[in-house]
């Protein structure tokens, strides 16, 4: 990015100092809340009450995490989210890749219609109420399968992939066809190996989306033994905190201390942090491939 030639006026001037200061302050506004959350989660409630501006654990303790995991809901959350990823991700990737490949081919009757058929879903949708009733009519309410199926293809990601497939030289596919290879074989052996960047990008997009899933699960799966992590976090943090804010006096009637709640935030953020280097590597590519195109 920013390939300014380095031969003109590269002196550091006072506007640079101001801009740098502004940007660093903005970055701190993002970093400090995270540090605060982490620090609270590793600090005893008493130490937290005594140290208002907490940015690193004053009295270090695992206590909050122990209580959090004893509660069991976090483990249910991890289990459900893990299972959900295993259900949804292969389906997402399979459906997205196959239709993107099919639409990237040309010359067959009905292609234009299929494109319109697919793109129309980006412009118009039934919304959550008919979706809920449809899933219900399929008998999928109460199961994470209903959630996974309702999110089978993200058409926007599909189009990112389609654009990439279309940029591959057509002769590759044609010559493979002449050799008698079937469509699955062409996709698997020729197109996919050449499309690693876009596959990785779309995979990561889906991964983040599925990991962050909560709304459809909240509506379609009302089962305390089958709650994805985000929803567990929501239940732990927001419900009690809302109570906290309604009351003007800080009467502590809720069961979870701030430390435990922030521990729940941390364990939900950690997996995203772990894949963030990969996201960094691919997301710019994705946004280029898809957004302004």
């Amino acid at each position: 990015m920013g390939k300014h030639k380095k031969n003109y006026k590269m002196r550091f001037q006072w506007p640079d100092a101001i801009m740098l200061a502004v940007l660093v302050v903005l970055a701190l506004l993002i970093v400090l809340p995270f540090l605060n959350v982490i620090a609270i989660s590793f600090t005893t409630p008493k130490a937290y009450a005594d140290t208002p501006l907490l940015l690193f654990p004053k009295v270090f303790t695992w206590e909050n995490y122990e209580t959090l995991f004893q509660d069991g809901r976090i483990l249910i959350g991890y289990r459900t989210s893990g299972k959900f990823l295993l259900m949804a991700m292969p389906m997402n990737m399979f459906l997205t890749t196959t239709i993107a490949y099919g639409l990237s081919r040309s010359g067959y009757p009905g292609r234009r219609f299929l494109l319109k058929f697919v793109v129309f879903t980006m412009l118009f949708s039934g919304g959550i109420v008919p979706l809920y009733l449809t899933i219900k009519s399929y008998g999928l309410i109460g199961s994470m399968w209903g959630v996974a199926l309702s999110e089978g293809i993200n058409t926007f990601y599909m189009i990112i992939m389609l654009n990439f497939f279309q940029s591959l030289p057509e002769s590759l596919v044609e010559s493979a066809k002449l050799d008698g290879a079937g469509e699955y074989k062409i996709l698997w052996k020729i197109v996919l190996p050449l499309s690693k960047p876009v596959i990785s990008t779309v995979f990561l997009y889906y991964l983040v989306d599925r990991w962050n899933e909560w709304y459809n699960a909240m509506i379609m799966v009302r089962d305390t033994q089958n709650t994805p992590l985000q929803l567990v976090l929501r239940n732990i943090v927001l419900d009690s905190q809302n109570l906290d804010n309604i009351m003007t006096e800080s009467v502590e009637i809720f069961t979870f201390s701030a430390g435990i709640k922030m521990g729940a935030v941390v364990v939900t953020v950690i997996p995203v942090m772990c894949i963030y280097p990969f996201l960094q590597k691919y997301f710019t590519k994705g946004i280029m491939l898809g957004a302004v195109k």
């Binding site: 990015m1 920013g2 390939k3 300014h4 030639k5 640079d16 801009m19 740098l20 940007l23 993002i30 400090l32 809340p33 995270f34 605060n36 959350v37 208002p52 997205t96 196959t98 099919g102 067959y108 009757p109 009905g110 234009r112 058929f117 793109v119 879903t121 412009l123 118009f124 949708s125 919304g127 959550i128 109420v129 008919p130 979706l131 009733l133 449809t134 399929y138 199926l149 293809i153 189009i159 389609l162 654009n163 996709l187 990991w211 709304y215 985000q230 929803l231 976090l233 929501r234 927001l238 905190q241 906290d244 804010n245 003007t248 701030a258 935030v265 953020v269 960094q280 710019t284 302004v292």
Partner: protein, 318 residues
Amino acid sequence: MAKNTTGVKKPTFKKTMKEVARFKGVYLIMLPAIIWYILFSYVPMAGLSLAFKSYKAKLGIWGSPFTGFSHFEKLFQDPRFIDSVIRTLKINGGRLILTFPCAIILALLLNELRVGRLKKVLQVTFTFPHFLSWVIIASIITNVLSFDGIVNSAIDLLGGEYVNFIGNAKLFVPLVYITEVWKGAGWSSIIYMAAIAGIDQEQFEAADIDGASRWDKVWRITLPSILPTIIIMFILAAGNVMTKGFDQIFNMNNAAVQKVSQTLDMYIYNVTFNAKKTDFGYSTAISMFRSVVNLIFLIAANTITKKLGGNGLMGGND
């Protein structure tokens, strides 16, 4: 399937079928996804017909009897519905004015920054919150802004009065804007950074020879060069004015701000999934209103984008 039969020479049915047979592998590979689109996109769309029916749980979405336009008659006399539509347009219209430019400003600032390594670190920091769900962001924000949170502690140390950020109806919408920028400006700025990177460097060099100041260059070269990108992003954002921000508002909502947080999507949620007795026909009528208005917005946005020479949502795939 034979939609492309508008040419002078009409391909016969037989010929089309021959072509279909030749490409059967392609159709076959797409079949699972096509079935998915039908079952999980088009069937729910057809389910909007429930807006004209009176829903009976036993008869289900397809068997319930038609009632005509009664839900819509009720709908347009429902003050809570009308309020929610106006509120949605106000909140999301405000985003276009207040939060939309932030990403552009951030991109310009980052671009002008001449410390390469630090720039990377800053960008990585600004982009991170984009990947977290609103559940997490709302938890963090609520923690930071609560009574014993770090912000109020800082205010206290500086001798100020405690501020009730979270349970304050007046502060709710400003907080929605601020948190949106907090979460998304870094991510949105990437696209402008890319547009800036694509500007022909000779323009800047020529400006240098003419003795242009940095401000001149930003104002007269950088900004005009990325203006097409800005316009397209703006129109796309405007197209989402009906649906934007449900995740965010749902998670930042609490009892104290309920009056100001009732956007259309919140209203749909509340009358459908949060009510003691749900009239699914009525809920669907609201859903239908939302879908149709959204479609109109998106088509308008798309048409304008195309007129301006962009590809629009439909892309250039035809």
